[in-house]
Symmetry: C2
Subunit: 522 residues, 2 copies
């Protein structure tokens, strides 16, 4: 399907053909549409209800995307925690409504969609079940770029005869080099991956780096190694990075339809299409379908205003802190809860220091939360006066290996605080078989239907699953709100229970005489 011409030529003018006619030999660039997963995850805290997506599916299915990312990441958690939606039902619905599309998901390797490591059998079952329910393409990553943590999931995807995509999380540090990324690409391809993803979750990937990494991987592993590039848009430069990645040979890029794009989200699908016009590359997406998809989500978007990210424009300061956009608002709320809302800048300066101490992990779920929260602790209580349990585990190797060495003093502090020993093996190797236990615990819960799918829900979200199983019969809860309703609520809260305003002083001239008047709510 993909014609690989002019791969190594970089940017060049189209071929001219007599009398002003232009004939262009183009290489087709695949596009993964993100709106059904990472688009709304990044812009509206993953709150979009399935019912607000279904009407766009026919257009999405026919638009000509390489794949449709629609599951995984934080959607599973959001479904059961906020939306009373069964994530498996959502997957089956997409399978039905997108019959001609490759369904794609984001899978956190050995963490699956949860926040701890699972034993291999649980990983295998998750992949089997999701494949059975309709998943096609698995983008598998590990937050530390520890390839041992994606090995099992990738093997399971291959066994299920689905598309296994090995992921390189892009980050920058004194230790991260192009050669290092090429080595990781080699390691992932050695696992039998069908493709690679260069994942830029914080919009740090600048054009030159995008070009150099994609080029180096293609040069080293061969041009038939498929490379997908995923960028967020937060810093404003990454559409250029996609252009450069394409020039260097990237095969597929990720975008989100314009009405759910930009800010901490992604580059707009339509802009990518237009960017490539007249170049030796094209997307072959259907403009009319894109317009319908855009219009659909432009209507949906205002319903979720209350969940929208505060970042709307670009934010280039994150090149220094390297903190993904979504995390900054998280930290702000942590700080405010501690009455330290004014100390965000200190925390942003602390994050790179904590990251260095931890051996320069990429910052992506869950490492971003772990490093970010420890930075908040350091600012509020003094450096490493207290370690979070997760940060201690990170320092002790329980999340896997980092590229850099971890600070020995803090490793020792973690050892003393937790009583756990540092490890160097693959964390999952220390986990005893747990499937049977998970089955018996899950099936004992009210409302659990006894399927492997329910057991997996319990396995990944043991705190949320019991409530979800119980309330599931009530059916999906759409947390979006009619914009008119939102305006009315805001008004009511402003005139009634809003913030207390101090007294206001007026000078009032009444019947020709000046009075000093103070007014406050009684």
């Amino acid at each position: 399907m993909v014609i690989r011409l002019s791969l190594a030529l970089g940017f060049r003018a189209p071929v001219r053909k007599g009398e002003g006619m232009t004939e262009t030999t183009t290489r087709e660039i695949g596009v993964t549409e993100l709106v059904l997963r990472d688009g709304h995850q990044s812009l509206m805290a993953t709150r979009m209800a399935l019912e607000d997506m279904v009407d766009a599916c026919a257009d999405i299915d026919a638009a000509g995307y390489w794949s449709v990312e629609c599951w995984g990441g934080a959607t599973y958690d959001a479904c059961i925690r906020f939306l009373n939606e069964d994530p498996w039902e959502r997957l089956r619905t997409f399978r039905e409504l997108l019959p001609h599309s490759r369904l794609q998901m984001l899978l956190r390797g050995q963490n699956l969609l949860g926040y701890r490591h699972y034993e291999d059998d649980v990983v295998n079952r998750f992949v089997e079940k999701s494949a059975e329910n309709g998943m096609d393409v698995y983008r598998v990553f590990d937050a530390l770029n520890d390839v041992r943590n994606v090995r099992q999931a990738i093997a399971a995807v291959r066994r299920a005869d689905k598309h296994a995509q090995g992921t390189i999380c892009y980050t920058e540090s004194p230790l991260h080099t192009i050669e290092g990324y090429v080595q990781m690409a080699r390691d992932l391809m050695d696992l039998g991956c069908d493709s690679l993803c260069l994942k830029d979750m914080a919009a740090l990937l600048k054009p030159q780096a995008a070009y150099d990494i994609v080029k180096a991987i293609k040069d080293d592993l061969g041009t038939d190694v498929r490379i997908h590039v995923h960028c967020h848009a937060t810093t404003g430069v990454t559409l250029v990075s996609l252009m450069k990645a394409i020039e260097a040979g990237a095969d597929v890029v990720d975008t989100s339809i314009s009405s759910i794009s930009l800010g901490p989200g992604h580059n707009p699908t339509e802009s990518l299409v237009e960017m490539l016009r007249g170049t030796p590359y094209s997307t072959d997406l259907d403009d009319a379908r894109l317009l319908s998809i855009k219009d659909h989500f432009a209507t949906v978007r205002p319903k979720y205003t209350q969940f929208m990210s505060a970042i709307t424009g670009v934010e280039t300061e994150i090149f220094k802190s390297q903190i993904p956009g979504g995390m900054i608002s998280n930290m702000e709320s942590q700080l405010r809860q501690q009455g330290a809302g004014d100390r965000l800048r200190e925390v942003l300066l602390e994050v790179p220091r904590v990251r260095a101490v931890a051996g320069y992990p990429p910052l992506v779920t869950p490492s971003s939360q772990i490093v970010g929260t420890q930075a908040v602790f350091n600012v509020l209580m003094g450096p490493y006066k207290a370690l979070t349990a997760e940060f201690a585990d990170l320092m002790l190797g329980y999340y896997g290996a980092t590229l850099g060495e971890r600070d020995a003093t803090i490793v020792e502090a973690a050892r003393q605080q937790t009583g756990k020993e540092p490890i160097t093996e693959r964390p999952a190797d220390l986990i005893p078989p747990e499937w049977d236990r998970l089955v018996s615990e899950a099936t004992a819960l009210e409302g659990c239907d006894g399927t492997d799918e329910d057991v997996l829900t319990y396995a990944m979200f043991p705190g949320v699953a019991p409530g979800f199983f119980k309330e599931r019969p009530d059916g999906p809860k759409n947390v979006g709100k009619d914009p008119a309703e939102v305006a009315a609520e805001r008004l009511a809260s402003a005139s009634g229970g809003g913030p207390v305003h101090g007294p206001i002083r007026y000078s009032v001239n009444m019947d020709g005489k000046a009075h000093s008047v103070t007014v406050e709510r009684a």
Copy 2:
């Protein structure tokens, strides 16, 4: 100052120098900062008051910009119409606050900053006076790309020994070709321009076109012809276009500080800086200064929320209609006034047809308004049932020559409606000397101080100047509003004209004595 290395090399990896060290020979790219003119013109209807800019000037002056666009365009009109600010005083203030910067303005050729053609003597006086008051760089354009209409202004700028920048308005049509743009570049350079500007006022310039045009001009006229590239951001692709223009040899690009950027505005300055890191190009702007400028305008921006453009994300449909972002909201309001708010899409489809009838003019002030309003008329009353006076003039040649032939039937209709004959000469050649008349009319007005500057104000805005001269002594009027004040007003209007609320009780302290007061709608 600008080192022209690797000009024709396009994009390439930096030069490697042993053991992982990277040494890069870079070409310095100049940057024109737009925030003081086109930035707020595009995003907040040109309403920003001078007092909201002064505190940023020290940082702007020291940041390392090639130039600072701060005058011209719609700012002159906005100053006297909305802000009770003398535009000449604004210019002198910038001259004082930006002593190390090149001040830049946008000048509509023979139209100056008004909406009709002026006799050459008026053009000369305007350029002399603005040069005297501190202007350095004149970007001179004509809405129809009729070089005859910029000739006089460019000659005047050269006589004043200032920087004359000839402008190519970028547009697309069956008749617009790269060779045509090169020919226009040649014509402009023949006038003695110091540089050229490729002006993309509607964000239509895609990366390949940007590359091809800049490359073709440099190839034809020589690499020492300085090319500046001005793009809006509305379609989301033009930062990539700037990258490609730079690769093709562009010398200076225009951006606006991130807190006043994107949407119908421009690409963010900081994103441009980051985009170029590691490439063979660099900006040498001062990051710390940029951060201060950004923070300053991030604080100012909320004051102008009421004037903000409705377009916040990207809008790629304008590739079809070619209508600049600012104009769409204009049309919407025209249509609403006629009770036809639902017919915008019809109008957007009509615009390209009207443009074809008119010989494919670029759409930029004033041609965008002229074509847009005629499209509204056509939709509301039937095609060309009524011609606006301005559209009739456009058809008859009174704005100058267009690239394409104008529709003979409509030219005839214009002739019959107006009684005017079609012309082919330079429109200003038909205007008799008018300076003395303008002087006597202006100086007769109350409050006119008799300076040439005041006469020019009257010449360009004869309807607005009388009121302005009278009210000028009251001093500048800042139309920005404290965000808290805006919220309070919204609340007041909501509790007033909105749903009826019950009585509200206040405790009112009057001259030291407390009263319990109940207020309700009478």
